[in-house]
Protein backbone atom coordinates (compact mmCIF):
# COMPACT_ATOMS: atom_id res chain seq x y z
CA UNK A 1 0.00 0.00 0.00
CA UNK A 2 1.11 3.58 -0.61
CA UNK A 3 2.49 5.49 2.33
CA UNK A 4 1.93 8.95 0.87
CA UNK A 5 -0.18 10.22 -2.01
CA UNK A 6 0.10 13.64 -3.63
CA UNK A 7 -3.17 15.03 -4.95
CA UNK A 8 -2.55 17.01 -8.14
CA UNK A 9 -5.84 18.86 -8.00
CA UNK A 10 -7.90 21.34 -6.03
CA UNK A 11 -11.48 22.00 -4.93
CA UNK A 12 -13.96 19.32 -3.96
CA UNK A 13 -12.19 16.46 -5.72
CA UNK A 14 -8.95 17.13 -3.85
CA UNK A 15 -10.96 17.00 -0.62
CA UNK A 16 -12.64 13.80 -1.80
CA UNK A 17 -9.31 12.10 -2.50
CA UNK A 18 -7.86 13.22 0.84
CA UNK A 19 -10.85 11.63 2.58
CA UNK A 20 -10.29 8.34 0.77
CA UNK A 21 -6.59 8.41 1.68
CA UNK A 22 -7.37 9.10 5.32
CA UNK A 23 -9.68 6.12 5.44
CA UNK A 24 -6.94 4.00 3.91
CA UNK A 25 -4.36 5.26 6.39
CA UNK A 26 -2.31 6.98 3.68
CA UNK A 27 -0.58 10.32 4.26
CA UNK A 28 -1.51 13.12 1.87
CA UNK A 29 0.24 16.00 0.15
CA UNK A 30 -1.85 18.85 -1.21
CA UNK A 31 -0.53 21.11 -3.93
CA UNK A 32 -2.00 24.55 -4.43
CA UNK A 33 -1.67 27.72 -6.43
CA UNK A 34 -1.16 31.08 -4.77
CA UNK A 35 -4.90 31.72 -5.19
CA UNK A 36 -5.81 28.59 -3.20
CA UNK A 37 -3.77 29.23 -0.09
CA UNK A 38 -6.95 29.23 2.04
CA UNK A 39 -8.60 26.30 0.33
CA UNK A 40 -9.92 23.40 2.35
CA UNK A 41 -7.74 20.76 0.70
CA UNK A 42 -4.67 22.66 1.88
CA UNK A 43 -5.89 22.50 5.50
CA UNK A 44 -6.98 18.88 5.31
CA UNK A 45 -3.82 17.35 3.85
CA UNK A 46 -0.90 16.34 6.01
CA UNK A 47 1.44 18.48 3.91
CA UNK A 48 0.87 21.26 1.39
CA UNK A 49 3.16 22.63 -1.30
CA UNK A 50 2.62 25.81 -3.28
CA UNK A 51 3.24 25.01 -6.94
CA UNK A 52 2.71 28.30 -8.74
CA UNK A 53 0.72 31.44 -9.40
CA UNK A 54 -3.07 31.42 -9.87
CA UNK A 55 -3.30 30.54 -13.58
CA UNK A 56 -3.75 26.78 -13.88
CA UNK A 57 -1.23 26.65 -16.72
CA UNK A 58 1.44 27.71 -14.24
CA UNK A 59 0.26 25.69 -11.25
CA UNK A 60 -2.18 22.77 -11.55
CA UNK A 61 -0.91 22.04 -15.06
CA UNK A 62 2.73 22.69 -14.19
CA UNK A 63 4.09 19.15 -14.47
CA UNK A 64 7.68 19.90 -13.34
CA UNK A 65 6.53 21.64 -10.17
CA UNK A 66 4.02 18.89 -9.36
CA UNK A 67 6.53 16.09 -9.91
CA UNK A 68 9.11 18.03 -7.94
CA UNK A 69 6.61 18.47 -5.10
CA UNK A 70 6.05 14.70 -5.09
CA UNK A 71 9.79 14.07 -5.03
CA UNK A 72 10.64 16.47 -2.21
CA UNK A 73 7.78 15.09 -0.07
CA UNK A 74 8.58 11.44 -0.88
CA UNK A 75 5.10 10.71 -2.22
CA UNK A 76 4.68 7.20 -3.65
CA UNK A 77 1.80 8.06 -5.92
CA UNK A 78 -0.08 10.95 -7.49
CA UNK A 79 -3.85 11.12 -7.73
CA UNK A 80 -4.81 13.48 -10.56
CA UNK A 81 -8.53 13.88 -9.72
CA UNK A 82 -10.52 14.92 -12.78
CA UNK A 83 -9.71 17.68 -15.27
CA UNK A 84 -6.22 19.26 -15.26
CA UNK A 85 -3.75 16.38 -15.77
CA UNK A 86 -6.15 13.49 -15.16
CA UNK A 87 -6.15 12.31 -18.76
CA UNK A 88 -2.65 13.37 -19.75
CA UNK A 89 -0.72 10.33 -20.93
CA UNK A 90 2.39 12.49 -20.89
CA UNK A 91 1.92 13.19 -17.19
CA UNK A 92 1.31 9.50 -16.54
CA UNK A 93 4.55 8.73 -18.36
CA UNK A 94 6.58 11.33 -16.46
CA UNK A 95 5.25 9.96 -13.17
CA UNK A 96 6.41 6.52 -14.22
CA UNK A 97 9.85 7.89 -15.18
CA UNK A 98 10.21 9.18 -11.64
CA UNK A 99 9.00 5.96 -10.01
CA UNK A 100 5.81 7.61 -8.86
CA UNK A 101 2.61 5.65 -9.35
CA UNK A 102 0.10 7.57 -11.46
CA UNK A 103 -3.30 6.64 -10.02
CA UNK A 104 -5.04 5.97 -13.28
CA UNK A 105 -4.77 3.63 -16.24
CA UNK A 106 -1.47 2.93 -18.02
CA UNK A 107 -0.38 5.68 -20.38
CA UNK A 108 -0.97 3.49 -23.46
CA UNK A 109 -4.59 2.99 -22.37
CA UNK A 110 -5.06 6.73 -21.84
CA UNK A 111 -3.59 7.36 -25.29
CA UNK A 112 -5.70 4.74 -27.04
CA UNK A 113 -8.92 5.89 -25.46
CA UNK A 114 -8.06 9.60 -25.59
CA UNK A 115 -7.86 9.53 -29.38
CA UNK A 116 -11.51 9.36 -30.41
CA UNK A 117 -10.92 7.72 -33.78
CA UNK A 118 -8.62 5.09 -32.30
CA UNK A 119 -11.01 4.47 -29.39
CA UNK A 120 -13.90 3.88 -31.80
CA UNK A 121 -11.84 1.47 -33.84
CA UNK A 122 -10.93 -0.55 -30.75
CA UNK A 123 -14.50 -0.58 -29.50
CA UNK A 124 -15.77 -1.71 -32.86
CA UNK A 125 -13.35 -4.62 -32.74
CA UNK A 126 -14.56 -5.41 -29.23
CA UNK A 127 -18.12 -5.55 -30.46
CA UNK A 128 -19.26 -2.40 -28.68
CA UNK A 129 -22.03 -0.78 -30.76
CA UNK A 130 -20.98 2.46 -32.46
CA UNK A 131 -23.09 5.09 -34.10
CA UNK A 132 -23.55 3.80 -37.68
CA UNK A 133 -21.97 6.12 -40.21
CA UNK A 134 -19.75 6.57 -43.21
CA UNK A 135 -16.65 5.15 -41.56
CA UNK A 136 -14.55 7.90 -43.05
CA UNK A 137 -15.06 10.81 -45.42
CA UNK A 138 -17.93 10.85 -47.88
CA UNK A 139 -16.77 11.45 -51.45
CA UNK A 140 -19.92 12.24 -53.39
CA UNK A 141 -23.67 12.60 -53.00
CA UNK A 142 -24.43 9.20 -54.46
CA UNK A 143 -22.25 7.48 -51.89
CA UNK A 144 -23.83 9.59 -49.15
CA UNK A 145 -27.36 8.59 -50.11
CA UNK A 146 -26.36 4.95 -50.25
CA UNK A 147 -24.83 5.08 -46.74
CA UNK A 148 -27.76 7.04 -45.39
CA UNK A 149 -30.20 4.47 -46.70
CA UNK A 150 -28.14 1.74 -45.07
CA UNK A 151 -28.04 3.34 -41.64
CA UNK A 152 -31.49 4.89 -41.91
CA UNK A 153 -32.62 8.50 -41.84
CA UNK A 154 -32.28 10.95 -40.21
CA UNK A 155 -28.54 11.35 -40.59
CA UNK A 156 -26.11 13.96 -39.43
CA UNK A 157 -23.53 15.53 -41.74
CA UNK A 158 -20.41 16.53 -39.84
CA UNK A 159 -17.41 18.50 -41.04
CA UNK A 160 -14.27 16.53 -40.29
CA UNK A 161 -12.54 19.77 -39.31
CA UNK A 162 -15.53 21.03 -37.29
CA UNK A 163 -16.24 20.70 -33.60
CA UNK A 164 -18.44 21.79 -30.73
CA UNK A 165 -21.59 21.54 -32.81
CA UNK A 166 -20.24 23.69 -35.65
CA UNK A 167 -20.62 22.50 -39.25
CA UNK A 168 -23.39 19.98 -38.49
CA UNK A 169 -26.54 19.48 -40.59
CA UNK A 170 -29.41 17.05 -40.11
CA UNK A 171 -31.12 15.41 -43.07
CA UNK A 172 -34.39 13.50 -42.96
CA UNK A 173 -34.59 12.40 -46.65
CA UNK A 174 -32.34 11.65 -49.61
CA UNK A 175 -33.34 14.97 -51.27
CA UNK A 176 -32.51 16.94 -48.15
CA UNK A 177 -29.26 15.02 -47.81
CA UNK A 178 -28.11 15.86 -51.35
CA UNK A 179 -28.91 19.53 -50.84
CA UNK A 180 -27.29 19.62 -47.38
CA UNK A 181 -24.15 17.86 -48.49
CA UNK A 182 -23.47 20.58 -51.05
CA UNK A 183 -24.08 23.27 -48.49
CA UNK A 184 -22.10 21.51 -45.78
CA UNK A 185 -19.08 21.08 -48.06
CA UNK A 186 -19.18 24.71 -49.07
CA UNK A 187 -19.53 25.80 -45.45
CA UNK A 188 -16.80 23.50 -44.26
CA UNK A 189 -14.44 24.77 -46.95
CA UNK A 190 -15.29 28.32 -46.04
CA UNK A 191 -15.19 27.97 -42.25
CA UNK A 192 -12.51 25.39 -41.66
CA UNK A 193 -10.59 25.45 -44.97
CA UNK A 194 -11.36 21.75 -45.37
CA UNK A 195 -14.41 20.53 -47.27
CA UNK A 196 -14.19 16.98 -45.85
CA UNK A 197 -17.45 15.69 -44.39
CA UNK A 198 -18.74 12.43 -42.98
CA UNK A 199 -22.11 10.99 -42.12
CA UNK A 200 -23.44 9.58 -38.86
CA UNK A 201 -26.81 8.35 -37.75
CA UNK A 202 -28.69 11.18 -36.05
CA UNK A 203 -30.21 10.20 -32.74
CA UNK A 204 -33.36 12.12 -31.99
CA UNK A 205 -33.83 13.14 -28.38
CA UNK A 206 -30.95 11.05 -27.11
CA UNK A 207 -30.04 10.42 -23.50
CA UNK A 208 -26.52 10.39 -22.11
CA UNK A 209 -26.14 7.18 -20.17
CA UNK A 210 -22.77 6.01 -18.96
CA UNK A 211 -21.59 2.75 -17.45
CA UNK A 212 -19.16 2.83 -14.53
CA UNK A 213 -16.70 -0.01 -14.70
CA UNK A 214 -13.86 -0.97 -12.40
CA UNK A 215 -10.99 -3.19 -13.38
CA UNK A 216 -8.08 -4.53 -11.36
CA UNK A 217 -4.62 -5.69 -12.41
CA UNK A 218 -5.69 -9.34 -12.37
CA UNK A 219 -8.13 -9.23 -15.25
CA UNK A 220 -11.26 -8.70 -13.18
CA UNK A 221 -13.66 -6.10 -14.55
CA UNK A 222 -16.98 -5.29 -12.90
CA UNK A 223 -19.81 -2.99 -13.95
CA UNK A 224 -21.29 -0.77 -11.25
CA UNK A 225 -24.38 0.12 -13.22
CA UNK A 226 -25.26 3.23 -15.13
CA UNK A 227 -25.57 6.95 -14.56
CA UNK A 228 -27.96 9.12 -16.48
CA UNK A 229 -26.29 12.46 -17.29
CA UNK A 230 -28.82 13.74 -19.78
CA UNK A 231 -29.51 17.02 -17.98
CA UNK A 232 -26.86 19.29 -19.43
CA UNK A 233 -26.36 22.92 -20.29
CA UNK A 234 -24.03 23.53 -23.22
CA UNK A 235 -22.47 20.08 -22.88
CA UNK A 236 -21.92 20.66 -19.13
CA UNK A 237 -23.62 18.10 -16.92
CA UNK A 238 -25.84 19.64 -14.27
CA UNK A 239 -27.75 16.75 -12.72
CA UNK A 240 -26.82 13.08 -12.72
CA UNK A 241 -28.67 10.10 -11.37
CA UNK A 242 -28.35 6.39 -10.88
CA UNK A 243 -30.12 4.26 -11.93
CA UNK A 244 -31.40 5.88 -15.11
CA UNK A 245 -35.18 6.22 -15.20
CA UNK A 246 -35.19 4.71 -18.72
CA UNK A 247 -32.83 1.78 -18.19
CA UNK A 248 -34.24 -1.56 -17.07
CA UNK A 249 -32.33 -4.62 -15.95
CA UNK A 250 -32.10 -6.10 -19.45
CA UNK A 251 -30.69 -2.87 -20.93
CA UNK A 252 -28.38 -2.35 -17.95
CA UNK A 253 -26.98 -5.83 -18.43
CA UNK A 254 -26.53 -5.32 -22.17
CA UNK A 255 -24.76 -1.98 -21.72
CA UNK A 256 -22.64 -3.39 -18.90
CA UNK A 257 -21.59 -6.34 -21.04
CA UNK A 258 -20.61 -4.01 -23.88
CA UNK A 259 -18.58 -1.78 -21.56
CA UNK A 260 -16.85 -4.75 -19.97
CA UNK A 261 -15.99 -6.16 -23.42
CA UNK A 262 -14.47 -2.80 -24.38
CA UNK A 263 -12.57 -2.56 -21.11
CA UNK A 264 -11.13 -6.06 -21.54
CA UNK A 265 -10.01 -5.21 -25.05
CA UNK A 266 -7.78 -2.36 -23.82
CA UNK A 267 -6.76 -4.06 -20.58
CA UNK A 268 -8.45 -1.43 -18.49
CA UNK A 269 -7.34 -1.05 -14.87
CA UNK A 270 -9.08 1.23 -12.35
CA UNK A 271 -12.41 3.04 -12.55
CA UNK A 272 -13.50 4.06 -16.03
CA UNK A 273 -16.64 5.40 -17.62
CA UNK A 274 -18.12 4.27 -20.93
CA UNK A 275 -20.33 7.03 -22.30
CA UNK A 276 -23.19 6.00 -24.54
CA UNK A 277 -25.94 7.75 -26.46
CA UNK A 278 -29.24 6.01 -25.85
CA UNK A 279 -32.04 6.39 -28.37
CA UNK A 280 -35.78 6.26 -27.80
CA UNK A 281 -35.91 2.58 -28.70
CA UNK A 282 -33.33 1.54 -26.15
CA UNK A 283 -30.46 1.18 -28.63
CA UNK A 284 -27.17 2.47 -27.32
CA UNK A 285 -24.07 3.74 -29.11
CA UNK A 286 -20.56 4.15 -27.78
CA UNK A 287 -19.34 7.74 -27.51
CA UNK A 288 -16.12 7.72 -25.49
CA UNK A 289 -14.33 6.38 -22.44
CA UNK A 290 -13.29 8.67 -19.60
CA UNK A 291 -10.17 7.24 -18.05
CA UNK A 292 -10.53 8.89 -14.65
CA UNK A 293 -12.82 9.25 -11.69
CA UNK A 294 -15.80 11.39 -12.74
CA UNK A 295 -17.47 14.28 -10.95
CA UNK A 296 -20.65 12.20 -10.73
CA UNK A 297 -19.05 9.05 -9.31
CA UNK A 298 -20.94 9.89 -6.10
CA UNK A 299 -24.34 8.65 -7.28
CA UNK A 300 -22.86 5.27 -8.11
CA UNK A 301 -21.36 5.15 -4.63
CA UNK A 302 -24.69 5.90 -3.02
CA UNK A 303 -26.62 3.13 -4.81
CA UNK A 304 -23.88 0.49 -4.75
CA UNK A 305 -22.43 1.23 -1.31
CA UNK A 306 -18.96 0.99 -2.85
CA UNK A 307 -16.34 3.69 -2.28
CA UNK A 308 -14.99 4.25 -5.81
CA UNK A 309 -12.11 6.52 -4.88
CA UNK A 310 -10.83 4.14 -2.23
CA UNK A 311 -11.00 1.31 -4.73
CA UNK A 312 -9.23 3.42 -7.33
CA UNK A 313 -6.32 3.87 -4.93
CA UNK A 314 -6.36 0.24 -3.78
CA UNK A 315 -6.26 -1.00 -7.35
CA UNK A 316 -3.39 1.34 -8.25
CA UNK A 317 -1.57 -0.16 -5.28
CA UNK A 318 -2.08 -3.65 -6.72
CA UNK A 319 -5.08 -4.80 -4.69
CA UNK A 320 -7.59 -7.25 -6.10
CA UNK A 321 -11.30 -6.42 -6.45
CA UNK A 322 -13.22 -8.21 -3.69
CA UNK A 323 -16.62 -8.04 -5.36
CA UNK A 324 -17.80 -9.63 -8.60
CA UNK A 325 -21.13 -7.95 -8.99
CA UNK A 326 -23.01 -5.16 -7.29
CA UNK A 327 -26.58 -4.68 -6.16
CA UNK A 328 -28.17 -1.30 -6.75
CA UNK A 329 -30.28 -0.09 -3.83
CA UNK A 330 -32.68 2.83 -4.17
CA UNK A 331 -31.94 5.90 -6.23
CA UNK A 332 -29.34 8.68 -6.03
CA UNK A 333 -29.24 12.13 -7.60
CA UNK A 334 -26.43 14.66 -7.75
CA UNK A 335 -26.82 18.38 -8.35
CA UNK A 336 -23.71 20.33 -9.26
CA UNK A 337 -23.91 23.69 -7.55
CA UNK A 338 -21.91 26.19 -9.57
CA UNK A 339 -20.89 29.75 -8.76
CA UNK A 340 -22.86 31.11 -11.68
CA UNK A 341 -25.81 33.44 -11.90
CA UNK A 342 -28.64 31.71 -13.76
CA UNK A 343 -30.50 35.05 -13.94
CA UNK A 344 -27.59 36.70 -15.66
CA UNK A 345 -26.73 34.29 -18.46
CA UNK A 346 -24.72 32.06 -16.09
CA UNK A 347 -22.05 34.70 -15.53
CA UNK A 348 -19.39 33.34 -13.17
CA UNK A 349 -19.69 34.65 -9.65
CA UNK A 350 -16.88 35.09 -7.15
CA UNK A 351 -16.69 36.52 -3.68
CA UNK A 352 -16.53 35.75 -0.01
CA UNK A 353 -18.91 33.24 1.55
CA UNK A 354 -20.51 35.42 4.18
CA UNK A 355 -22.78 32.68 5.48
CA UNK A 356 -22.57 28.98 4.80
CA UNK A 357 -24.91 26.35 6.22
CA UNK A 358 -24.78 23.08 4.29
CA UNK A 359 -27.83 20.81 4.24
CA UNK A 360 -27.73 17.67 6.38
CA UNK A 361 -29.88 14.95 7.86
CA UNK A 362 -30.81 11.58 6.40
CA UNK A 363 -29.44 10.46 3.03
CA UNK A 364 -27.90 13.80 2.09
CA UNK A 365 -24.26 13.97 1.09
CA UNK A 366 -22.18 17.07 0.45
CA UNK A 367 -18.87 17.06 -1.38
CA UNK A 368 -17.34 20.50 -1.26
CA UNK A 369 -14.27 22.55 -0.47
CA UNK A 370 -16.37 25.38 0.93
CA UNK A 371 -16.54 26.75 4.45
CA UNK A 372 -17.85 29.96 5.90
CA UNK A 373 -15.50 32.85 5.20
CA UNK A 374 -13.93 31.12 2.19
CA UNK A 375 -13.14 33.40 -0.73
CA UNK A 376 -14.32 31.93 -3.99
CA UNK A 377 -11.61 32.61 -6.56
CA UNK A 378 -12.41 33.21 -10.22
CA UNK A 379 -9.52 31.28 -11.73
CA UNK A 380 -10.85 27.77 -12.00
CA UNK A 381 -14.05 25.96 -12.79
CA UNK A 382 -17.15 27.20 -11.05
CA UNK A 383 -18.12 24.01 -9.19
CA UNK A 384 -18.83 24.98 -5.58
CA UNK A 385 -20.42 21.86 -4.16
CA UNK A 386 -22.05 18.62 -5.13
CA UNK A 387 -25.24 17.83 -3.29
CA UNK A 388 -26.18 14.16 -3.46
CA UNK A 389 -29.39 12.70 -2.12
CA UNK A 390 -30.44 9.09 -1.86
CA UNK A 391 -34.02 7.85 -1.72
CA UNK A 392 -35.68 4.45 -1.60
CA UNK A 393 -36.98 5.40 -5.06
CA UNK A 394 -36.46 8.20 -7.59
CA UNK A 395 -39.37 10.19 -6.25
CA UNK A 396 -38.00 10.25 -2.72
CA UNK A 397 -34.53 11.18 -4.00
CA UNK A 398 -35.99 14.13 -5.94
CA UNK A 399 -38.10 15.38 -3.02
CA UNK A 400 -35.14 15.03 -0.70
CA UNK A 401 -32.95 16.98 -3.13
CA UNK A 402 -35.46 19.82 -3.15
CA UNK A 403 -35.50 19.79 0.63
CA UNK A 404 -31.69 19.81 0.76
CA UNK A 405 -31.26 22.61 -1.78
CA UNK A 406 -33.91 24.74 -0.07
CA UNK A 407 -32.11 24.52 3.25
CA UNK A 408 -28.67 25.24 1.72
CA UNK A 409 -27.51 28.68 2.86
CA UNK A 410 -24.78 30.19 0.64
CA UNK A 411 -24.61 33.93 1.11
CA UNK A 412 -22.14 36.09 -0.77
CA UNK A 413 -22.13 34.31 -4.11
CA UNK A 414 -24.68 33.59 -6.83
CA UNK A 415 -25.30 29.92 -7.44
CA UNK A 416 -27.21 27.64 -9.78
CA UNK A 417 -29.48 26.41 -6.96
CA UNK A 418 -32.53 28.28 -8.36
CA UNK A 419 -32.03 26.57 -11.72
CA UNK A 420 -31.78 23.17 -10.05
CA UNK A 421 -35.01 23.77 -8.15
CA UNK A 422 -36.70 24.74 -11.41
CA UNK A 423 -35.57 21.47 -12.98
CA UNK A 424 -36.58 19.40 -9.94
CA UNK A 425 -40.08 20.90 -10.10
CA UNK A 426 -40.47 20.29 -13.83
CA UNK A 427 -43.10 17.70 -14.70
CA UNK A 428 -41.08 16.13 -17.52
CA UNK A 429 -38.10 15.78 -15.22
CA UNK A 430 -40.19 14.25 -12.46
CA UNK A 431 -41.63 11.73 -14.94
CA UNK A 432 -38.10 10.96 -16.15
CA UNK A 433 -39.05 11.96 -19.67
CA UNK A 434 -36.36 14.22 -21.00
CA UNK A 435 -33.48 14.30 -23.44
CA UNK A 436 -30.30 16.31 -23.87
CA UNK A 437 -32.18 19.38 -25.08
CA UNK A 438 -34.39 19.34 -21.96
CA UNK A 439 -32.87 22.42 -20.42
CA UNK A 440 -32.98 24.62 -23.51
CA UNK A 441 -36.42 23.45 -24.54
CA UNK A 442 -38.25 22.99 -21.26
CA UNK A 443 -36.66 25.05 -18.56
CA UNK A 444 -34.65 28.00 -19.81
CA UNK A 445 -37.31 29.07 -22.33
CA UNK A 446 -39.69 29.79 -19.49
CA UNK A 447 -37.51 32.62 -18.28
Amino acid sequence: MFRKVLIANRGEIAVRVIRACKELGIKTVAVYSEADKESLHVYMADEAICIGPPPASQSYLNIPNIISAALITNADAIHPGYGFLAESSRFAEICQDHDIVFIGPKKEVIENLGDKARAKKIMKEAGVPLLPGSDGLVEDEKQAVKIAKEIGFPVLIKATAGGGGKGMRISYSPEELVKNIRLAKLEAEKNFGNPGIYIEKFIEEPRHVEIQIMGDSYGNIVSLGERDCTIQRRYQKLIEESPSPVVDKRLRDAMSRAAIRGAYKVGYVGPGTFEFLLDKDGRFYFMEVNTRIQVEHTVTEMVTGIDLVKWQILIAAGERLDFKEVTLRGHAIECRINAEDPDNNFAPSAGKLEKYIPPGGPFVRIDTHLYEGYEIVPFYDSLLAKVITWGKDRNEAIIRMKRALEEFVLRGVKTTIPLHLKILNNTSFIKGEYSTNFLSRRVLVED
Partner: protein, 147 residues
Protein backbone atom coordinates in the same frame (compact mmCIF):
# COMPACT_ATOMS: atom_id res chain seq x y z
CA UNK B 1 6.37 51.59 -25.15
CA UNK B 2 7.01 48.07 -24.09
CA UNK B 3 4.24 45.53 -23.68
CA UNK B 4 3.21 45.21 -20.09
CA UNK B 5 3.27 41.76 -18.61
CA UNK B 6 0.80 40.81 -15.92
CA UNK B 7 3.54 40.73 -13.33
CA UNK B 8 4.68 44.23 -14.21
CA UNK B 9 1.13 45.52 -14.11
CA UNK B 10 0.65 44.01 -10.68
CA UNK B 11 3.69 45.81 -9.41
CA UNK B 12 2.64 49.04 -11.05
CA UNK B 13 -0.85 48.92 -9.55
CA UNK B 14 0.61 48.09 -6.17
CA UNK B 15 2.91 51.10 -6.41
CA UNK B 16 0.11 53.31 -7.58
CA UNK B 17 -2.08 52.20 -4.71
CA UNK B 18 0.55 53.17 -2.21
CA UNK B 19 1.30 56.50 -3.87
CA UNK B 20 -0.77 59.61 -3.57
CA UNK B 21 -1.18 59.94 -7.31
CA UNK B 22 -4.69 60.33 -8.60
CA UNK B 23 -3.82 59.49 -12.17
CA UNK B 24 -1.00 57.88 -14.06
CA UNK B 25 -0.81 58.08 -17.84
CA UNK B 26 1.97 56.60 -19.86
CA UNK B 27 1.75 57.35 -23.54
CA UNK B 28 4.22 56.34 -26.15
CA UNK B 29 3.10 56.68 -29.71
CA UNK B 30 0.37 54.15 -30.17
CA UNK B 31 0.72 52.72 -26.66
CA UNK B 32 -1.08 54.11 -23.72
CA UNK B 33 -1.53 53.03 -20.09
CA UNK B 34 -3.94 54.86 -17.79
CA UNK B 35 -4.46 54.24 -14.08
CA UNK B 36 -7.06 56.39 -12.37
CA UNK B 37 -7.89 56.42 -8.71
CA UNK B 38 -11.49 55.96 -7.63
CA UNK B 39 -12.58 58.89 -5.46
CA UNK B 40 -15.12 57.16 -3.36
CA UNK B 41 -13.11 54.00 -3.16
CA UNK B 42 -10.40 55.91 -1.46
CA UNK B 43 -12.62 57.79 0.91
CA UNK B 44 -14.73 55.02 2.34
CA UNK B 45 -12.32 52.55 3.71
CA UNK B 46 -9.67 55.20 4.27
CA UNK B 47 -10.62 56.10 7.82
CA UNK B 48 -10.95 52.53 8.86
CA UNK B 49 -8.38 50.72 6.89
CA UNK B 50 -5.59 53.22 6.51
CA UNK B 51 -4.17 53.15 10.01
CA UNK B 52 -3.86 49.43 9.70
CA UNK B 53 -2.03 49.77 6.40
CA UNK B 54 0.34 52.33 7.83
CA UNK B 55 1.24 50.03 10.63
CA UNK B 56 2.04 47.12 8.37
CA UNK B 57 4.05 49.41 6.19
CA UNK B 58 6.12 50.53 9.11
CA UNK B 59 6.67 46.99 10.26
CA UNK B 60 7.44 45.96 6.75
CA UNK B 61 10.05 48.66 6.41
CA UNK B 62 11.77 47.61 9.59
CA UNK B 63 11.85 44.01 8.74
CA UNK B 64 11.96 44.03 5.05
CA UNK B 65 14.52 46.64 4.16
CA UNK B 66 15.07 45.15 0.78
CA UNK B 67 13.55 42.79 -1.74
CA UNK B 68 13.24 39.04 -1.75
CA UNK B 69 14.47 36.58 -4.31
CA UNK B 70 11.79 33.86 -4.25
CA UNK B 71 11.71 30.32 -5.63
CA UNK B 72 10.35 30.33 -9.17
CA UNK B 73 9.84 26.57 -9.03
CA UNK B 74 9.47 23.70 -6.58
CA UNK B 75 12.54 21.67 -5.70
CA UNK B 76 15.63 21.32 -3.55
CA UNK B 77 17.68 24.40 -2.81
CA UNK B 78 21.46 24.28 -3.16
CA UNK B 79 23.77 27.15 -2.30
CA UNK B 80 26.73 25.91 -4.28
CA UNK B 81 27.20 24.43 -7.74
CA UNK B 82 28.55 21.13 -6.35
CA UNK B 83 28.95 19.47 -2.95
CA UNK B 84 31.96 20.96 -1.24
CA UNK B 85 32.21 23.89 -3.64
CA UNK B 86 31.91 27.42 -2.22
CA UNK B 87 28.40 28.94 -2.20
CA UNK B 88 27.32 31.14 -5.09
CA UNK B 89 26.74 33.98 -2.66
CA UNK B 90 27.33 34.68 1.01
CA UNK B 91 25.60 37.15 3.26
CA UNK B 92 27.14 40.55 2.64
CA UNK B 93 28.00 39.79 -0.98
CA UNK B 94 26.99 42.16 -3.73
CA UNK B 95 24.77 40.64 -6.42
CA UNK B 96 24.02 41.94 -9.87
CA UNK B 97 20.94 41.29 -11.97
CA UNK B 98 21.47 38.03 -13.82
CA UNK B 99 23.96 36.69 -11.34
CA UNK B 100 23.34 33.10 -10.22
CA UNK B 101 22.54 32.99 -6.50
CA UNK B 102 21.60 29.34 -6.04
CA UNK B 103 20.45 26.15 -7.70
CA UNK B 104 17.06 24.52 -7.36
CA UNK B 105 16.97 20.88 -8.31
CA UNK B 106 13.69 19.78 -9.80
CA UNK B 107 13.07 16.46 -11.54
CA UNK B 108 16.82 15.73 -11.46
CA UNK B 109 17.54 18.96 -13.33
CA UNK B 110 19.69 21.70 -11.81
CA UNK B 111 18.10 25.09 -12.39
CA UNK B 112 20.30 28.12 -11.84
CA UNK B 113 18.38 30.83 -10.06
CA UNK B 114 19.46 34.35 -10.93
CA UNK B 115 19.01 37.60 -9.11
CA UNK B 116 16.68 40.12 -10.72
CA UNK B 117 18.03 43.03 -8.71
CA UNK B 118 21.24 44.73 -7.73
CA UNK B 119 21.98 44.80 -4.05
CA UNK B 120 23.70 43.27 -1.11
CA UNK B 121 22.72 39.84 0.26
CA UNK B 122 21.28 40.66 3.65
CA UNK B 123 20.10 37.22 4.62
CA UNK B 124 20.05 33.70 3.21
CA UNK B 125 16.67 32.34 4.28
CA UNK B 126 16.88 28.69 3.32
CA UNK B 127 19.37 26.03 4.32
CA UNK B 128 21.40 24.10 1.81
CA UNK B 129 19.59 20.94 0.72
CA UNK B 130 16.21 22.13 1.96
CA UNK B 131 13.08 21.61 -0.14
CA UNK B 132 11.37 24.80 -1.26
CA UNK B 133 7.91 25.48 -2.64
CA UNK B 134 6.91 27.98 -5.29
CA UNK B 135 7.22 31.55 -4.09
CA UNK B 136 9.26 30.67 -1.02
CA UNK B 137 11.61 33.46 0.05
CA UNK B 138 15.23 32.46 -0.56
CA UNK B 139 17.33 35.61 -0.14
CA UNK B 140 16.72 39.06 1.28
CA UNK B 141 18.55 41.62 -0.85
CA UNK B 142 19.31 45.09 0.42
CA UNK B 143 18.84 47.36 -2.60
CA UNK B 144 18.68 50.60 -0.66
CA UNK B 145 21.97 51.03 1.12
CA UNK B 146 24.95 52.32 -0.67
CA UNK B 147 26.14 49.46 -2.79
Amino acid sequence: MKEWSLEELKELICLFNKSNLSELIIENGENKLVLRRGDNVVSTPSTEVEPKVEKTQIIKENVDEGVYITAPLVGVFYRSPAPGAPPFVEEGDLVEPGQTVCIIEAMKLMNEIKSHVRGRVKKVLVENGQAVEFGQKLFLIDTESNV
